[in-house]
Amino acid sequence: MSVQDFPIRDQQDVPIWSAIEVKNYKQAIKAVDKRIKKKSSEYLEALKIYIQSRDFAPATEKGHVVVYIEKLRSRAPAFTDYDAIELLDEAFDAVMPNSPDEWANVIGDLRLQRVLAKPKEDEVSKQFFRVCIYKGDLDHAEKIATALQKAYPDKHAYHFWSIATKYLYSLNLKYSEEDRTRWGRLAFAFIGKMAANTQKASSEGKLLPVRSIHTPQELLLLHAITEKYGSVENRLQYLEDPSLGAESKVAKGEWQLWRWKMELLTSSRQWKVLCETSRSLLGRARTKDNAGKLSEARYSDWVVWEGFMRSVKELSQDSISSDEIGPLRRVFYKEVAAHLDPSSGIDKSWRRNASLAKLRFSTGDVSSFVDLAITAQSEVDDTISGILQYLEAYGDATTAYGDLRPTIEALSRSQRAALLSKVIDSRAPAKVNKSTAITKLVNSYKLSYLITSAIPEHESHTLPTYQPHQEVTCDICSKPMAAFCTCCLMELAQAMTKAYTAAIKDNPDVAKELLTTDRHPADDLAILSAMCLIKAAVASDGPRPKIPQIVLATILLEYAWSLSKSNFQILLLLIKLYSCLGCASLAIAAYQRLKSKQIQKDTLSFTLFHRISDLHPHHFAHRPQDYPSGKMMEPMENIVEQQRYYKKANKEMTKNIYGCFQEGSYNSAVQITEAYSILNRSFASIFSVVESGRILRLLLPSKTLTPVICGYDGLTPNAEFHSTTISDTNDYDVFPNFESTRSPRFVSLFDFLVPETSKFQVHASLLSEKLAMLITSEYVSTAQEIGSLIAAFEQLPKENEGGFKNMSFSERITFECSEAMAYTISDLDAQSKTAVYSYGSRLCEKLQQMIEAITTIGEAPPTCQPDLQLLYMGYDLGNVILKLVRYINSRNLKTKKPEYEELATQLIQAVMKKSTAIKKKLDEGGLIDWIVDSLAGSAESTESQALNNAIGDLIDDNFREIWAGEVVESWKDSVEGFSYFKSP
């Protein structure tokens, strides 16, 4: 803040502000004291505190500033000078930045006192309300809103400000459960009163009073609050009320109300009402208005069809007499026919709903509601012909596969076999010279995959007798298979690669018609073929996938991407495949090509950055070919940028919460508050802190790490505690997935690289990292800090609750060692000499396990991410333990050298030995030839050789050699990270 920002009250203030401008605080204090002596004022008192806060005073003096402000807060009469309060806020922020709770206690309260002292100055009150919202101080924001409501009872908006703020308070996890519930209930009571007033006025034909619901956003808020504190019946009553329901004047056609009505009628099993409601909406959707337009076309929304299907089905099952069933089903089919009538004028997006409803209804599969077994032969034929008809009509759209998948999953084996033969026939079409024809072909391959691989795998994996590595006989090809049938997968991969080659090479005109930003319609063939290869690779016995298949899948996708550069799903798979191959720079390049920005820094970082410290913590030694230096961000830069993003996003969110109040968009305020609370506790935000600690310890071992350097200041407090709510914002669904809807997503096959993030893993990683920072930075560990970490360790549910399930071997060892180290420090602090040894045997056991694992890492490339993780985490762990020993020694306890000191040294040596051996192997050369040869195949089995040949027909020698060169360069770049390993 400068002279320009604060109006100079008096000519005599000029010297004070001039001194502040040139940072001559001594002079400024002198000048202000002189003025105070003559005649003190709130403004001058505040100004003095403001100057003191600017001065680089020792901590005690800063504390003094806060104490002083606090005193002013409780002063009677209240502090009312607007500028003075703004100055005090600035002063507080300078001495205690990022302290929202303290801010609320001191400044939030000061602002509230001012509002209560001058309740009729609503511009100031609104301004203060805004500041409290920005600061997340809902306690004072609520009180200010209520003061505004009381001071201006005729202002409709302030009543809702007060209700909405109460509700926002109830959503904020930082307040106690009891307070939150209390405010939530109050909000519920008040808004219920508003709703009742609307009902009353409407029924009496009167104008709506001030204290009643007037707008759609207020209605939506009513539902949000009632959903939490009321009942389904309450909400249904509102939805059915002529003055508050979906067709009320107040609702202004708000579509969400209809959606809720469908949902609540379903959950409360009111089938008759649901049937009537959905039927009437569907009828309206196809009825033209006076202008001849289908102005209510949106009523044929899928949720309405779902309601109709479900209710007819349920009524047919038990609610109506048997002679009513036929007519009811006929009503359904009549409605479908009316929507599908070519003369109905209904747009194709809505008609598709009718077709899909017909298919689902006739096959008995009503979305996720019920699965009816279909038995009669005639129905079997109907079902299959229904599916084929749908495929014929909509197979040229990518969504056809997703539309048909649940229906096919509900079929029996023999039905699926019958369908497969028809689908295979359709894979040999006459001409595939158009985008739509290619999409149709792709869909038939996807269905083949679903029937021959995805569904049987799911069925076999869910058998009670299933064991991942035990061989069974494949239902489809009758050959032995373990988790996946390699034979079927390779055969499909080969067929799809050939189909892809034909689609690309025989039809160059298709690509010419696309925009440069379009993806090629044949891409999914390459993706699915690569997926088959990946499955075949992980189906091997060992813990690591078969590399030749991974190499094939990678080059196939890299080639496909070179022809379809906007296909982000190819890039996502490439990130994983390159991580698997230990080609970190290529994985990072693929990530950068996604051009993720803003919120995507959070939702997509899990694809690579949650474990970047184990893959590529260092600076690039070599950047991939099409990335000139400077354009490719270093790993640490990415993390720093992500952390910066969170701070920026917080401001943007709080700013808009206030914006919602100004616009009367209370429901949006609630939603943004929910999103704010989620983003602030996201797994990705926590991992950014963990990863920066790990990377910095390796790259800058002599730097003293502080919580601020690692980004802890942006984290939700106590995030390491199991009781702290944290949220998963990782967008796994963006990866391609053609598996059965009941199976895990395809991306979880990569769990062997980095297990899918779990809540336990996030808490545990943060806990280990906090401890490592405390020990290695020699950043004074207070008993309180260690005590808090121990409490967090104790709170985490471990083995018995499956906590370790989602942790890699290295993560688990690190976590267990961290726990032992925390107890050691705590006991030491309690002056117990035995502490040095009490947890020693546990540490020794874990260290030995880690050393053993490191010695078994293969030396020939590629060094897969889990192996790199062993090396990097092993090195870090060894060093942290040695620092612990140094800490113990500093206590002069005169104890014997603990055994784990020696083992920690051995661990570091094992890391160094192994990494040197890996590097040496890499330097031996001949790797490009090795890759090119492995692409050509080793004739291990005829299926796989046929696939190698198919890929050979697609990708020319030049592309292969350049790519192999890139892979080798990337390996060389990866091992540069080993140069940071130093002997203890």
Partner: protein, 191 residues
């Protein structure tokens, strides 16, 4: 399946299928949330199975500020399509058309004169969508987009077409013109 619903603040966590496409910009949260604050009823999502985002339309209703009243570029009260995007896997199903039509209904309800939007000169797909819906080019904005997707890699960026469709209020077609392609303006003339 076609299902529309209002955009939810939490959708930003899962809009990658639409926003990783090069023609769809990902803005800061301020941008999305200010629309949620001011025009929540004009921000619509097309939802796929399991709540996936198949597409969305972000729009606003406004007029040029009063001080621009005498400018030749003044815009009376109208609806504006800020973003319309459909995920690659859900294209060509009519979703974009359906989303745009929902805005036409809202525009008529609020008595707006027309709907307008900017589209890249090279984006023939979107132009064909809008032409089919009755939009026409009103003017060409030179170098409106900083980056160039036309394949020409021009240093001056890429031109935009400002396309319009008159709504019920503009019975006489006062706010549309023929041969708008030849009517060139600079980026600072539009807002």
């Amino acid at each position: 399946m076609t299902s529309l619903r209002p955009f939810h603040a939490m959708d930003v966590f899962k809009f990658n299928p639409t926003n990783l496409d090069p023609l769809t910009e990902t803005y800061d949260l301020n941008f999305y949330y200010s629309y949620l604050a001011r025009w929540p009823h004009l921000f619509t999502v097309a939802e796929g199975p399991d709540g996936a985002m198949d597409g969305y339309l972000m729009a606003k209703l406004e007029a040029s500020p009063p001080q621009a009243q005498f400018s030749p570029h003044y815009l009376p009260f109208h609806a504006h399509i800020t973003a319309l995007t459909v995920a690659p896997h859900a294209r060509r199903l009519g979703l974009a058309r359906t989303l745009s039509q929902s805005l036409e209904t809202a525009g008529d309800e609020y008595d707006a004169w027309f709907i307008d939007l900017f589209v890249r000169k090279s984006n023939k797909v979107a132009q064909s969508l809008y032409n089919g819906l009755g939009y026409s080019v009103f003017r060409k904005v030179l170098g409106y987009y900083v980056d160039d997707f036309s394949g020409e890699d021009s240093e001056d960026g890429e031109d935009a077409y400002d396309m319009r469709k008159p709504l019920r209020r503009d019975m006489e077609g006062k706010h549309v013109r023929k041969n708008g392609e030849s009517f060139e303006v600079e980026p600072q003339d539009v807002w």
